[in-house]
């Protein structure tokens, strides 16, 4: 009886998902329907397919793990279950989290549910998680964010996506792409649901060596709470919002001026509620993307070296007569067939960056840039980074600015969701630079391990000019033209970035923005 009910739930979800391809497997085991007394009772949650579940396969969107089933649940999955959540299934993603459009998956691309007929990308790599939430297939979804993989699809699909501070959510059972950047996060229709799921899984885990101590979490949380109490949601008096000039690149002015105007409108509303809008500069931002791709690829080449076809996963036996003189020759058969082109590209790039000849100029240089990016943030925030004051013996750690800001606000992406046909075309032309540039606004927070929340804001380009606060802008004319090619109304995300450990503060500001956007 229960099984039939469960299977029915799974097959109905399967039917609904047919046009999005958000899920890659569905939970239909009945024991998950047993009554639970928890905060997430009756919550259904999608799990990105690079997070281990013992009941369902964990493929990471890769052929090399196509039949892999983990013997254990990731800590975050275990915590969700303990809180009473029901696992809906596993969500599609770019292979091992490598991609920004969810087009690099063995399970095929995810279609953005905002308007299925126009076949736009959901964003990536957590595209399945964002689409599942946007299409109402589950209450919330877990994603992972290495350089923007939650915030970008959240922005493209019009849902809320949180990349928490690095070290808060356990990575035990999360398949590594780049250990120093990988962060588990939450996607949902609204901030409140995100907060609820985040609260249930935000626990120290001794199985994750990068899981931060209770003491440090509490220290940062107290600072955040103190800051929140300075203003109330009605007036926002005392909230200092920084607008980093480097996050408004030329691409934004020309091609996506509707994003710009949406942000301007939002900032004007926040100011009218009493918040101070402060222009700030994060000068190292321009180097962040290059540094990110060096570090992420280097760590990726290392983390993915365990997939050899020996103990689990796809094994392609060497063909008769092939060279078996070295182990790598044997592995090459499985790895060549098991990894997709994007993963191979990053493994090669990372392998090069770690080589003795390139290490100093690439990997070490990228680490220096990473420190500069971190220092930039520490300089503009009014809140001290509790991690640096704890762990660093160096004197040159950037202290909080006297006129520092509480949070930063910037667009989550330089554009709205691109058409799948266009991105698959550029993929065929082997021009993936477009793919990488998607991440330009999201990687700095990843490099610094800061909490970042993408919240949908109204795309005002579908509104008549008179309602725009910046209607005298020249941009408006271009916006009107854009409407005709179909960007009008497509979701736009705004990112709120806070100092390390102030996730509650970021979520609270997100809630205000959400309310403003819904008018």
């Amino acid at each position: 009886m229960l099984r039939r009910f469960a299977s029915n739930a799974a097959s109905s979800l399967r039917a609904k998902d047919a046009s999005f391809n958000a899920f890659v497997s569905f939970e239909d085991s009945p024991d998950l329907f047993k009554p639970n007394e928890g905060l997430l009772n009756d919550f259904s949650v999608g799990i990105k397919d690079n997070i281990c579940t013992s009941a369902l396969p964990t493929t990471c969107g890769s052929a090399i793990l196509q039949d892999f089933r983990s013997p254990f649940d990731a800590t975050v999955v275990k915590l969700l279950k303990e809180a009473g959540a029901r696992i809906a299934g596993k969500t599609n993603c770019d292979e091992f989290g490598m991609g920004s459009l969810n087009i690099h998956s063995i399970h095929g691309p995810v279609v953005n549910p905002f308007d299925v007929d126009s076949r736009r990308a959901a964003g990536g790599s957590s595209g399945g998680s964002a689409a599942a939430v946007a299409a109402g297939l589950c209450d919330a979804a877990l994603g992972t964010d290495t350089g923007g993989s939650i915030r970008l699809p959240a922005s493209y699909c019009g849902v809320v996506g949180l990349k928490p501070s690095y070290g808060l959510l356990s990575r035990h059972g999360v398949v590594s792409y780049a250990d120093s950047l990988d962060t588990v996060g939450v996607l949902a229709q609204n901030v409140q649901k995100v907060e609820k799921v985040f609260g249930s899984i935000n626990k120290r885990d001794f199985n994750d060596p990068t899981s931060v101590s209770e003491r440090l979490r509490e220290k940062a949380r107290l600072i955040a709470m103190e800051r929140i109490q300075r203003w109330d949601t009605e007036s926002l008096e005392g909230l200092r919002i920084g607008v980093p000039q480097e996050y408004f690149p030329s691409e934004l002015n020309s091609a996506s001026s509707h994003i710009l105007s949406a942000i301007r409108h939002l900032l004007a509303r926040l100011r009218s509620l009493g918040a101070s809008i402060v222009p700030v500069s994060l000068p190292s931002t321009k180097y962040a993307l290059s540094a990110y791709y060096v570090i992420a690829s280097a760590e990726g080449s290392s983390c993915l070296s365990r997939y050899d076809g020996i103990r689990y996963g796809l094994r392609v036996p060497p063909s008769p007569g092939s060279d078996l003189t070295s182990t790598s020759e044997t592995y090459a058969h499985s790895r060549s067939r098991g990894f997709g082109s994007e993963v191979k590209k990053r493994i090669l790039l990372g392998t090069y960056a770690l080589g003795a000849d390139a290490f100093d100029n690439y990997f070490l240089q990228a680490q220096r840039v990473r420190q500069m990016v971190r220092n930039d943030f520490d300089r503009v925030f009014s809140i001290t980074n509790v991690l640096h004051t704890e762990n660093s013996s160096e004197e040159d750690v950037a202290g909080p600015g006297v006129n520092g800001v509480d949070v930063l606000i910037h667009p989550s992406a330089i554009r709205t969701a691109p058409r799948l046909d266009d991105v698959l075309d550029t993929l065929r032309q082997r021009d993936t630079l477009q793919d990488y540039v998607q991440d330009v606004l999201t990687v700095p927070a990843s490099l610094s391990g800061l909490p970042a929340l993408s919240v949908p804001v109204q795309n005002r380009s579908k509104f008549p000019a008179s309602s725009l606060p910046t209607s005298t802008d020249k941009g408006y004319q271009q916006e009107a033209e854009k409407d005709e090619v179909g960007d009008a109304g497509w979701p736009i995300g705004v990112s709120i970035v806070g100092q390390w450990g102030t996730d509650e503060l970021v979520l609270r500001v997100g809630q205000v923005i959400e309310r403003l956007s819904r008018g």
Binding site: V174, T210, S302
Partner: protein, 511 residues
Amino acid sequence: MSRWLVDGWQVIIGIETHVQIKSSQKLFSRAPTSLLNDAPNTRYNTFDAALPGTLPRLNRKCLDLALRAAFALGCSVNKRSSFDRKHYFYFDQPTGYQITQHYSPFAVNGQYTSPKIGLPIRIKQIQLEQDTAKSITNARTRTALIDLNRAGAGLLEIVTEPDFRTAGQAAEYVRSLQELLRAVGVSDGNMEAGSLRCDVNVSINRPGEPPGTRTEVKNINSLKFMVAAIEYEIQRQKTILETLGPKQKVPQETRGFNSETWKTFRLRSKEDAPDYRYMPDPNLGVLVLSEQHIEAVRREMPPLPDATRLRLIQTYSSSGVTERNIDVLMNLDAVRDIAYDGVVEDTVVGAVAYFELCSQGRDPKFVMDWIIQNFLGQLFALGKPFSTEYIPVAQMGDLLDLITTKQITRPSAKLLLKHMLISPSDIPVKQLAEKMDVLSSVDELSNSSSHDDPLRDVCIRAMDALPSEIAAIQAGNENVMNKVIGWIMRQTKGKVEVIRAKDILKQLLSR
């Protein structure tokens, strides 16, 4: 220096030793470390098998044992060190990389001095790292079997500066290192069981000239092989330099040692040296050691062998205990099984501790003689391994006290000791002696001043029983005395003191 030259060549040797840490769990996982007789693939967990989503977690017990090794070798401990990934594809490496300490090891700049080596050896660094799995390749079927039991076990890599000048010094260093690491409970240091393996670097040069090109001989698993490998390398390099002319150089190579031919062979040249693509491990971050922790480990260190030897000599040589005696006891302790995780067990007392406990309130020389000559001697005769568990300290003390108070004769005490070794029990020694009827009665046998001396009676009976022997003695054949004494011992079940019996006999005969 000149005394170490080989046909006018100076030899320079450095040693890297890989030592298995005797911890109950592996370095970064909670899987139990394996023993040689464990069935293959029974001692690993998801982390050791490199399953997706598994992360390392440093075993602090391995770290504390590593610190003991650092102190024992006089290293300075870095308060901040880090772990790196060394990448290479091989069947025995499930993750595709080994976690080691390439850029910033936890201990550096040590010095080890031992009178037996004759010159101080500088320790360059000690690093913590993971052991590999075992792979057994079958060349014929071109297959490999993999056993994950050893994968991820904790290793120490101890790197010396090139301070050795002879193969003998190198061997002595490894021998001393074994003893040292066992004494501080870090490792079994057992080369046969694979818990200690060596790589040696060898180069030769003319005195006054810069060092020659070195070759590295990898994975040597016995001291005999190490000496042979070094000596083979010296001869091989000498031949290259002497026969091929002064402009020739020894090629920089990594070599192996063939234990069948006793020759080294080329594994790879400098050109095909792998690029390990070292990268700081992003999961483990910086290993921070607090001053308090370092000091706590230092305080709880078991004493080093050299310090123990010195202390024993200073304490006991005035009582007549010799250095040789002390070495016998220390060698017994050096081969004891050591406990996991550096636990200093007090249930089983070592040889040195046994001696010292038994010596409390007794003459150390007397105690030492009984332990070495009788306790050890009888165990050896019985073919039993050494252990102090046969006769606990208190029992041994009681036995020794029976001897010093003359309640038992030495021959009887030996008999009793043998019995106690064959069938250990917790019966009080005196009771046991009574049961075996080997106790001398003070009333019956010890009172020499009395004319009612029972021993005197026994002697008189002996003279009656053995008239021809007595006549022989009186005729001057002193050796026959032993025959008479033997008769007396049989009659008294050995309960009399030989010297006193002789005295009484002589007294009676001289009348």
